[in-house]
């Protein structure tokens, strides 16, 4: 009897149907929306502070032009970014469900009251922002400033809350032992990551303000220079970036840090992009504006903003990348298998828990290949495709069948960014056959290989690999050898 789709345990890849995004990688899908969301939301948060600053400059008589700038499109722009930022935030949530329901489900289970608190801050942002946006013209100075104070604090508050949840994924800290929400929330990377993101908010607001200033009419060149000078303090926090970055890196788990610093070529490349782009933005912003040597025109500001998108994007990919092989470190592998489940799944097999059949069973000549495709779907497709991005065909298609068996059996040795193989020896053989078949361009005929000797050999390799993730597996093996 086939399994009931509602019945697989919630923390397993098989608990939910899996979509095929080939040739795109799932990380790319979430990364794409992530960039847009982080960009808009950060701009709206920093923009709140920039509005506050200009309002204060205007009210205290320090900058007579300030009010005119605020009441130009800038105010509206901040507000619309906030609304669309909120919508893309919902989008992040829904995308996370598509990509890894068990992960977002675990996050919701642990942190729902934190999220509910963040929701209160959203309301504050909406009400204060809307009141200012809509009635600002007709309100007295004190009320205006207070509304902006509330809006800015609420915006920063929403960052504060979400930052705890996101940084927990990389460094869950003492939560792993105690299960305490606050131990998880104020985790080792909480502060560096919060400060880092805050600097990004200020920088994006400064860039946005500069672009708007160049676009709206009604200011003379001299007036623009003066207003730019007023914006420039918002570039200053970038000076702290190198220190915050170093702190962030120091607080990370060792293996994640190593990948960023060169252990993984891709992540290291993104890291260099982020650092380079940030240095350019910061250097230009700080030197040119603060020292009043230069005038930043619209084209330059737009170029820097484009670099900022690049840096934001790189940052998102790094964030997704360095957690591997986990979505929640020590707790849940990217595959939605928990470390504790691996040993059981080696015995029972992953497919015993999968209620969803293949959509195109007729495309595969044998049951073993169908099984292999299902194993790929559950244990590899979260990070790989077959022929597209991170293609298994390209990565391992050329290898001999023995080599394939060994490298997959010792997956966490093949790369520390991969979890231990969480299926049975028979399933491993099916997977390897499936990849070989794909590499052979899907021939109409394919021999089934269920040789007991081969399976036994695979079982031995799996045992050698251990059920532990890297680097614990390597340590355990070294301990074994020295005994």
């Amino acid at each position: 009897m086939p399994l009931d789709p509602a019945s697989a345990a919630p923390l397993l890849p098989t608990a939910y149907p899996v979509q095929d995004y080939d040739p795109l990688m799932k990380g790319m899908v979430i990364g794409g929306i992530g960039i847009l969301h982080v960009f808009l939301a950060s701009f709206a948060i920093g923009g709140g502070f920039l509005l506050w600053w200009f309002e204060w400059l205007g009210q205290t008589g320090r900058e007579p032009l300030a009010r005119r700038f605020i009441d130009s499109v800038f105010r509206a722009l901040i507000f619309v970014s906030f609304i669309v930022g909120a919508l893309t935030g919902v989008g992040m949530w829904l995308t996370a469900i598509q990509i890894s329901s068990p992960t977002i489900g675990l996050m919701v289970d642990v942190f729902h009251w934190v999220w509910a608190t963040e929701w209160l801050f959203f309301w504050l942002e909406v009400v204060a922002g809307y009141a200012f946006f809509r009635y600002g013209d007709r309100l007295d100075g004190r009320t205006r400033l207070r509304l902006l104070t509330i809006y800015s604090i609420a915006g920063f508050g929403s960052l504060f809350w979400i930052n705890g949840i996101l940084s927990w994924q990389l460094t869950p800290g003492e939560w792993v032992e105690t299960g305490s929400v606050w131990a998880g929330f104020f985790n080792p990377t909480f502060w560096p990551s919060l400060l880092f993101r805050t600097v990004v908010c200020f920088t994006l607001a400064a860039l946005g303000g500069t672009i708007v200033l160049n676009l709206v009419g009604g200011f003379t060149r001299e007036e623009r220079e003066r207003l730019l000078h007023r914006i420039s303090p918002f570039f200053l926090p970038m000076l702290a970036m190198p220190f915050l970055g170093a702190w962030y890196l120091a607080a990370m788990p060792e293996d994640s840090r190593d990948w960023i610093l060169g252990g993984s070529m891709v992540i290291n490349m993104f890291f260099n992009i982020a650092v380079g782009a940030s240095a350019l933005i910061g250097g230009y912003g700080v030197i040119a504006l603060w020292r009043q040597r230069n005038f930043m025109n619209g084209a330059t500001a737009t170029l820097l903003a484009a670099l900022a998108v690049g840096a934001t994007g790189a940052g998102e990919f790094i964030r997704e990348g360095v957690r591997k092989p986990y979505t929640v470190r020590e707790t849940l592998f990217s595959t939605a298998v928990t470390p504790a489940q691996v040993a059981t799944l080696r015995e029972t097999g992953i497919l015993a828990t999968d209620p969803y059949p293949l959509r195109d069973p007729e495309a595969y000549p044998t049951d073993q290949l169908r099984e292999g495709r299902l194993v790929y779907r559950n244990l590899c497709s979260i990070c790989h495709t077959v022929h597209g991005a991170m293609a298994l065909n390209a990565l391992m298609g050329e290898w001999s069948i023995e080599q394939k068996r060994l490298m997959v059996a010792k997956l966490q040795w093949t790369g520390g960014y991969m979890p231990p193989f969480a299926g049975s020896a028979g399933e491993l053989e099916s997977l390897v056959q499936y990849i070989a078949w794909e590499h052979a361009k899907r021939p109409k005929e394919w021999r089934e290989s269920r040789d007991p000797e081969v399976i036994e050999e695979i079982e031995r390799m799996l045992e050698e690999a251990t059920t532990l993730p890297s680097p614990a597996a390597q340590k355990a093996a070294a301990g074994e050898e020295s005994r």
Partner: protein
């Protein structure tokens, strides 16, 4: 922190009644269910206004009400000006039930999301475009646009506003349909496997359309009541004449919506859920009775207002309260149906594995409620009544 090991046991669905189902749930789950119902009702208030207001605006735009030199139509102006805030409120309010539904019905909500895939995810771009379109309808010589002569002229054109309003109304309708399809699929675990293999049909099935019609009609009385309340508060400088003029069209809208949604509601709620008809269940009957009663009371209030061509304080208050009761009753019926449909399956209501953080939430609930009350008062004080647009 205990994480479950592999577990593939299947429980057989059992026919039961709502009191039985509730009795068997852990207390925490019942609390989360109550929060889901309450926050969903809040969401529904704003989304009903949004949908009704969007329709009203689209019709007004098509009648040229937003073109230069059009006759004074205070209601159309007020609704148009409040739409963007209404949709922001609907979205913000929607986040809370989105959170609670993931806690209580994690399995079924997520599975439906994934199975609908494109169709479900499309609601986001639809909403984003709808929000921008609403601003196009609304844009009228605001500070930023004034600077740009050509853009301002384009946005002020009647046909541009009509097109934007119709587009936004369609998109908002699509968002509603997406939520409905998702909800219906989430109630039917027995169909998930086939849906995964076969994919979604090109068009949603009949029950989704019936439910969409029920919701769209049900949104109208809420919109009419809230719009009447705005006019009474002098929004857009509304005077007695504006109120008198608006009374009959709003009454017609509210009555059509109430009767229509009640007829469709009878069809929807008499369906079989997990072997039980909601209308045969004691809680289900109570909720349906409240819904019908509230719609009747609201209808009576509207008939009175239409006959007297006057939006009197007491009748408007009655219509607003009736709408709120109807929304709550509707929310209870929805949850009742879901509890029955999923009872005894592994996708039934569940308890989250962690519960910490409630105290912090409560502290900030008080603080933010205070801050919001302050904002509302400060703005109300600073503005003379006639300027409360």
């Amino acid at each position: 922190m205990m994480l479950p090991a592999v577990d593939t046991e299947t429980a057989a669905p059992a026919t039961s009644t709502l009191p039985e189902v509730l009795e068997a749930l852990p207390t925490n789950t019942v609390v989360y269910l109550a929060l889901l119902i309450a926050t969903y009702a809040l969401h529904a208030v704003f989304m009903n206004y949004t949908f009704g207001g969007m329709l009203w605006t689209a019709v007004a735009a098509l009648r040229g009400r937003y073109s230069e030199g059009a006759p004074r139509d205070t209601l159309a102006t007020v609704v148009r000006d409040w739409l963007p805030s209404a949709v922001s409120a609907a979205v913000t309010a929607g986040i809370a039930p989105l959170l609670f539904v993931q806690i209580v019905y994690q399995r079924s909500f997520y599975t439906a999301n994934i199975l609908l895939f494109n169709r479900w995810m499309a609601l986001l771009p639809a909403l984003i475009v709808a929000v921008y379109a609403m601003y196009v309808v609304k844009a009228h010589g605001s500070a930023g646009v004034r600077d740009h002569g050509r853009a301002a002229k384009f946005l002020a054109r009647g046909d541009v506003k009509s097109a934007a309003a119709v587009l936004a109304a369609l998109l908002i309708g699509y968002v509603g349909l997406a939520f409905i399809e998702n909800h219906l699929l989430s109630l039917a675990p027995e169909t998930w496997r086939d849906r995964y293999v076969e994919g979604s049909p090109a068009l949603p099935a009949a029950p989704a359309w019936i439910r969409l019609a029920m919701w769209a009609l049900g949104a109208l009385p809420t919109f009419a009541a809230l719009a009447a309340w705005q006019l009474r508060r002098g929004a857009g400088g509304a005077n007695d004449e504006d109120r008198a003029r608006a009374s009959r069209p709003l009454a017609l809208l509210a009555l059509t919506g109430a009767i229509g949604s009640l007829v469709l509601g009878t069809i929807v709620w008499s369906a079989d859920h997990g072997g039980t008809r909601l209308l045969d269940d004691s809680i289900g009957r109570l909720a349906f009775g409240s819904l019908a009663g509230a719609l009747a009371v609201g209808g009576a209030a509207w008939i009175t207002m239409a006959l007297h061509r006057r939006l009197s304080a007491i009748m408007v208050a009655l219509a607003v309260s009736a709408s709120l009761v109807a929304i709550l009753a509707h929310a209870v019926l929805r949850e009742g149906a879901r509890l029955l449909a999923l009872a005894g399956t592994p996708a039934a209501a569940r308890e989250p594995s962690g519960l910490g953080g409630l105290a912090v939430f409560l502290v900030f609930l008080v603080i933010s409620a205070g801050a919001i009350a302050w904002i509302v008062r400060a703005v109300a004080r600073a503005l003379p009544t006639t300027h409360r647009a």
